[in-house]
Amino acid sequence: MVGQSGTGKTTLVRCLIGEEQPTEGKITIGDWDITRLSKNQIPFLRRQVAVIFQDFKLLPKKTLFENVAFALEVAGKSGDKIRSIVPQVMKIVGLGSKMKRYPHEVSGGEQQRAAIARALVYQPKVLLADEPTGNLDSINAQEIVDLLKKINEFGTTVVLVTHNREIVNRLKRRVVTLHDGRVISDQAVGKYSL
């Protein structure tokens, strides 16, 4: 999903995770109508629709392992399960050796990987990535995009919101272009055309 700043990309993401409610229309994920979710249903939505951000949003006083484990702990998963799932997921994102580090002790790319690992522990149906490479240099950005591609190949729908022309053009995937809050183009194999 591409579009200029202020065109409504982040608002769309916020609607998809139940942080904001649309004034009109309907949002359905699978068969689940999430347009008007009650406050106590939101935690369940967050386990189906995971999200990562430009600023990673890791808990600063927890290690990378604890950050990932936290997502499972909030859902009351057992300690055994957590100790088996978390290292696996962290290995997938390439953080197997840095689980005991705190966020401020690793690079931006590694922080984003930890955020992705946290998003993946529930095997969500959808992964929303809101400008995930915005704070990263081009090498780290490419690695994150490769990781997202791999996740998509495992069967998770990835919605990548970006205004990085290079990344969009190299991916050669479906591109939805937003302008002034409206979809102005939707191509099956698209290019960045703004």
């Binding site: 939101i42 949003k57 600063p60 006083k61 927890k62 936290f70 997502a71 702990e73 909030v74």
Partner: protein, 303 residues
């Protein structure tokens, strides 16, 4: 449920240790708050004891004729004891009066010399009457004035009556002022506590947002803060109790000097009521802290 509670406790302890400076500051403020409340309490206790001592010293003396017979005196004493509002009647014999006089003036050789030059004991026996209820002092005076006995030499109670009125008005004002100051002070302490906890949670505002984003329920976000505030309250209370106890042991000698013969021990007072104070202070502070936690977390739990 149990696993969530255990996790909340784990997060709370982790947070206290990993934010050690913030935890220290919070605990220190709690210690100060508890200490001030205890201090206020002791001021109340001491001033009440002081008022009681003063009231306790109010008595009226009936001076008896020098040649009164012992049996007459004892009969009069029994008669007064039977009156309303009389706590006790102390008989001070001639000999006793002399001894008291000598002790009182033991540092004044001139007076003692003058006394020695007299062959006989110049002092008269007396009856000291202590009222049981200081507020019904007037009726006691009336009753004593009505008393007719040939052995009574003098009874002049006017001075005491005036003094008593003054003492009563002063002590009443002291306790009123004390009450108002206490209320004000407790209110300020509550505000300080409330804001301390709010500040502690303010520093966690981004974390609260992130926790919600990851799918934590309200309860799961709040529980660690509630547990932390209970832990802070408990540590603060234990520390302040220890410091306060040391403070009291330092204070007690001065109080003993101040109250002299009147037996008053503030350490005993606090020891006797320790459990009650501890529990009440803990509940009070914990309620404030939990309220502050809930309000603050609610405020910051929107991403």
């Amino acid at each position: 449920m149990f696993i969530s509670l255990a996790r909340a406790a784990k997060f709370s302890l982790q947070d206290i240790i990993r934010n050690v400076w913030l935890s220290l500051v919070t605990i220190i403020i709690l210690v100060l708050a508890f200490f001030s409340v205890n201090l206020l309490l002791s001021v109340q206790v001491i001033s009440k004891a002081a008022i009681d001592t003063v009231r306790d010293k109010i008595d009226v003396s009936l001076y008896l004729k020098n040649d009164s017979a012992e049996s007459d005196i004892l009969a009069l004493r029994a008669q007064i004891s039977a009156m309303d509002n009389v706590r006790e009647v102390i008989y001070v014999s001639k000999q006793q009066a002399l001894e008291d006089f000598q002790t009182k003036h033991q540092n004044n050789p001139d007076i003692l010399e003058a006394l020695r030059e007299l062959d006989t004991n110049p002092l008269s026996p007396s009856l000291i009457v202590r009222p049981s209820d200081i507020n019904k002092y007037e009726t006691l005076i009336t009753n004593l004035n009505r008393l007719s006995s040939p052995i009574i030499e003098s009874r002049n109670f006017d001075d005491q009556s005036l003094m008593l009125q003054k003492i009563n008005s002063i002590t009443d004002r002291v306790s009123q002022a004390g009450f108002v100051v206490s209320l004000l002070f407790i209110f300020i302490t509550l505000l300080v506590l409330y804001n301390t906890i709010r500040v502690a949670i303010y520093t966690h505002r981004t974390e609260i947002g992130i926790e919600r984003l990851v799918g934590a329920s309200d309860w799961f976000i709040r529980a660690p803060f509630i547990i932390s505030s209970l832990i802070y309250t408990l540590i603060g209370l234990i520390l302040s109790s220890a410091i306060f106890y040391i403070f009291l042991t330092l204070l007690q000698p001065y109080l003993e000097a101040f109250f002299m013969n009147y037996s008053f021990n503030i350490i005993n007072y606090f020891q006797a009521n320790a459990l009650q104070f501890f529990v009440l202070e803990f509940i009070g502070a914990a309620l404030i802290n939990i309220t502050a936690s809930l309000v603050a977390v609610r405020k910051y739990s929107n991403v």
